[in-house]
């Protein structure tokens, strides 16, 4: 049995509370004045401050993201989420029958569950891809929708359905090769 190697203090954060508080207050003030449009620049500035104070084995992290990229993401989320949400919560109750508006709201909440999971994935992917250490980028592979499905607990049923489909097609393929009926089977395989 080998002894565990002595752990080293690999990580450190040299950020100071009042330094971060000052930046947060400035960001909050400008965000209020600009009716939240400044939040992309605020978020970028805060991340640059925090990333640069994070040290791994003595070398700092680097944040290479920009506010314009965040703003572009916001423009994407505008028609995909904000506008439908405004319609569902503020327009539909007055424009359509209350029963249908209620079902619309229910459906929106149901769809929001995987959307939140996918949003977490996209957020983490962007932040990792814009983080460098010693010039090496981090990243996040995979698919947002795969993550969303997994977090919604659909992996089990989806995997079961996939297995059943695969098993049926595999059985049919095997049966075709040996001359068996997939359900009845055969005592004597047929050679082709």
């Amino acid at each position: 049995m080998t002894a565990e190697a002595a752990p080293s203090q690999t990580f450190a954060h040299s950020g100071k509370f009042f330094n971060v508080l000052g930046l947060a207050l400035k960001n909050a003030g400008l965000t209020i004045i600009t009716l939240t449009m400044y939040r992309f620049w605020a978020r970028t500035a805060m991340r640059r401050r925090l990333w640069s104070r994070t040290f791994v084995m003595g070398d700092p992290l680097e944040y290479t993201g920009s506010a314009s990229e965040l703003f572009r993401g916001f423009l994407i989320s505008l028609p995909c989420f904000f506008l439908p949400a405004i319609f569902v919560f503020y327009i539909a109750p007055y424009a359509i029958e209350p029963v249908y508006a209620g079902w619309l709201t229910f459906g929106f909440y149901v769809l929001s569950v995987p959307l939140v999971a996918a949003a977490r994935y996209w957020m983490r992917r962007y932040q990792l891809s814009r983080t460098r250490w010693r010039g090496i980028k981090l990243g996040l592979a995979g698919s947002a929708w795969g993550f969303a499905t997994a977090s919604w607990g659909l992996v089990g049923p989806a995997a079961l359905v996939a297995r059943l489909v695969h098993a049926c097609s595999a059985d049919q393929s095997r049966a075709a090769d040996v001359g068996e009926h997939p359900l009845r089977g055969s005592a004597v395989p047929v050679r082709r």
């Binding site: 509370f17 947060a24 805060m46 990229e69 965040l70 250490w133 090496i136």
Partner: protein
């Protein structure tokens, strides 16, 4: 999420050591949190009912009926406050144990992470963060996030060292759509704490 995370071309792994339970170190903390929070959930409204009955019995505010409404409102707020504090206190041991356990399951190139989060200190930082968020109406949420990030990083270690010299640059395609829908939900307190 962790198994898809890459440092350059080197993937992180999220794996349990052979023979170990994934929930190692959390078996005592979980039922403690569950049972004590259930007790707090039940006891807080009962205590509020006793306080309300005391106010009615002693006729404390009979000269000013509006004061009863204010008092009942404050009692309701008190119940919510007790529930919130109970949530933090009862689940603090489990949160610390879970963070330590999750960190210990993450490896990169054979090097394992080790986190030394402690119940009391984690509780204090979390409570302080909640107070900052509540009192600033969310505007100073990044400060709360910063406290969490600093707390974790100053207690995080790496057992063994990955072969950094052999790790190449990432070949994953960069996302050109920012955080996309992530911005709509504002999930990370502005500081990457997801």
């Amino acid at each position: 999420m962790w198994e898809n995370t890459r440092f350059g071309d080197q993937p992180f792994q999220f794996a349990v050591e052979h023979g170990e339970s994934p929930q190692k170190g959390m078996w005592r903390a979980f039922p403690f949190g569950w049972v004590t929070f259930a007790i707090a959930l039940v006891c807080a409204p009962i205590a509020a009912a006793f306080v309300q009955r005391y106010l009615v019995t002693t006729e404390l505010f009979d000269s000013s009926p509006e004061a009863y409404s204010i008092a009942y409102g404050l009692i309701g707020l008190g119940v919510l406050l007790i529930w919130g504090l109970a949530w933090l206190i009862c689940w603090a041991p489990y949160n610390a144990a879970a963070m330590n356990r999750i960190a210990s399951l993450i490896t990169i190139d054979g090097a394992r992470f080790k986190l030394k989060a402690r119940t009391v200190s984690l509780f204090i930082f979390t409570l302080f963060g909640w107070l900052i968020v509540i009192l600033s109406l969310g505007l100073l949420a990044p400060v709360a996030g910063f406290l969490q990030v600093r707390y974790i990083l100053n207690r995080l270690e790496l057992v063994d060292t990955p072969r950094f010299a052999e790790i190449g640059q990432s070949v994953l395609r960069d996302s050109d759509s920012g955080e996309s829908l992530g911005d709509a939900f504002d999930l990370d307190m502005g500081v990457g704490v997801i």
